[in-house]
Amino acid sequence: MAASRRALHTVLYLLLLVILAWGLVPILYMMLSSVKTQVNMFSMPPKLIFQPTFDVYGEMFAGRGDFAEFLTNSVIVALVTTALSLLLGVMGGFALARGNFKREKDISFWIISTRMAPIPAVILPLYLIFSKLGLIGTTTGLVFAYTTFNLPFALWMMSTFFKDVPIDLEEAAMIDGCSKFRAFWRVAVPTAAPGIVATGVLCLMFAWNDYSFASIFTGNGTQTVPIAVSLLVSQSGIKWGQAMATGTVIIMPMVLCGFLVRKYMVRGLSMGAVK
């Protein structure tokens, strides 16, 4: 019995290694290619042992290109939309979790359908409105555009996190003379702090990784990193070296963020339905 179990486990581990290879080879290959010379990158069979070079990264940051500008734009837009969504979402989510709304079901439905609306179908009306308001090509416009999905996400997630905070804690604070707002600020918010961080990190990720909104709403000087990726593709060919390096730069911070809130990933990705 023990022997057959051990054999079974060996098979399971081997299968998992295959799955792991399927998931990770593309990412590792991208990182590897980004530090290869052109000749090495294109040689088949692939070279696994080579002299690494960081020329492409050097060019991206030191050269005439505007990569630093793309990066700055991305960071600003992602941070501002996250701050805005969290600010409103934490307050609103708390109200949703604690209040007794007659129309709570309708509000939930509204929030979810806003969060999950197909991006092209959201871009179009925003485009019409932004053109009238002169927001096309501005950072403000893009921040608003990202808030269309980050605010409902933050509201929704924060209401599920606040529902987990025992209401007794706040009631005890209020008996001790705290105002309702103080009970929220000094008791509920600190208790739900990990949830706030996790929600914020996911908002950051959604904004950072977006290409579609940015492709329509940004212009010269306001473009974000995913646009930099698409600009490497042209009629005359694709700059593969830079593409692999840019890809690496885009995913690294998100991988770090992802690991940081690993515990809450399931909850965030299932829209709070699975804890």
Binding site: S33, P46, I112, I123, V274
Partner: protein, 276 residues
């Protein structure tokens, strides 16, 4: 405290929504700033265009194929992880990595891997005797973009289902063992039924998301070759921003919203069903 959020949410969601309904009855062709009333012309134009129905058809293939594949694979991997005695956290953390990759990077990365001259996976395929330009071939492009979606999002199903499996209580499993159930029977009759809700949640979240994004296809195939990967979202972007048919695009967008809203309604129902 809810009021500020509701006002902002109304500004970024309800107002655009009604504006889109308005736009779907207007003609923007002559003057972007002063559209003329067009009645049902846009709707008629959209609903009678073959491309519209073909794009929805391709969307069905893309979403259907992608969802079935990632659901099957995702559940299988979750069960694998559930059954190993050690390193479960390490494996599941590493397997999550594709989830963090921006879809535009996924598209370009796979385009590189499948490149007919420089691609790593293309080289493998050639070694296996397959000599095709995957993304340039109408027969292979759709399976390839489906594969990209499966690569990126299978881990989402895996971690959600695994989270469910880890909450399955010991007793029924032990009882089954005493009754002589084998491993497969335990999976089939105890584990899977007990995580049914997680599976439905994962499937719904993914169905809404597969409709949402067009980034991967935009960079990997640009809807081609010969429209083979032109799904409805990509078609909408074309109608609006390449053909500049704003009214038609608005009507088209509303058909997408109807579908995603129905899925959303279903999601709320599932979320509430076993909550209390």
């Amino acid at each position: 405290m809810l009021l500020p959020s509701m006002i902002v949410l109304a500004a970024v969601s309800l107002f655009p929504f009604f504006f889109m309904i308005y736009a779907s009855f207007m003609d923007y062709a002559l003057d972007m700033d002063k559209p003329r009333f067009a009645g049902f012309d846009n709707w008629k134009g959209v609903l009678t265009a073959d491309t519209f129905w073909e794009s929805w058809g391709r969307t069905a293939v893309y979403a259907g194929g992608g969802l079935i594949a990632q659901l099957a694979l995702g559940i299988a991997v979750a069960l694998l992880l559930y059954h190993i005695p050690k390193f479960r956290n390490l494996f599941s953390t590493l397997l999550m990595l594709p989830l963090f990759v921006a879809p535009i990077v996924t598209g370009l990365l796979w385009r590189f891997l499948l490149d007919p001259t420089y691609g790593l996976y293309n080289w493998f395929l050639q070694k296996l005797g397959m000599n095709v330009q995957i993304l340039g071939d109408t027969a292979y492009a759709m399976p390839a973009v489906i594969l990209m979606d499966v690569w990126e999002w299978t881990p989402l199903i895996t971690i959600i289902v695994l989270a469910g499996l880890q909450t399955v209580p010991e007793e029924p499993l032990e009882a089954a063992e005493v009754d002589g159930a084998n491993g497969w029977q335990k999976v089939r009759y105890i584990l899977l039924p007990m995580v049914r809700r997680m599976i439905v949640v994962a499937l719904l979240v993914r169905s809404m998301d597969i409709l949402r994004y067009v980034d991967t296809i935009t960079i990997a195939t640009e809807g081609g070759p010969a429209d083979a990967t032109k799904i409805i979202g990509y078609y909408l972007m074309q109608v609006a921003f390449r053909f500049q048919d704003i009214g038609g695009a608005a009507a088209l967008g509303l058909t997408m919203l109807i579908v995603s809203t129905l899925l959303g309604r279903f999601f709320i129902k599932v979320m509430r069903s076993e909550e209390a």
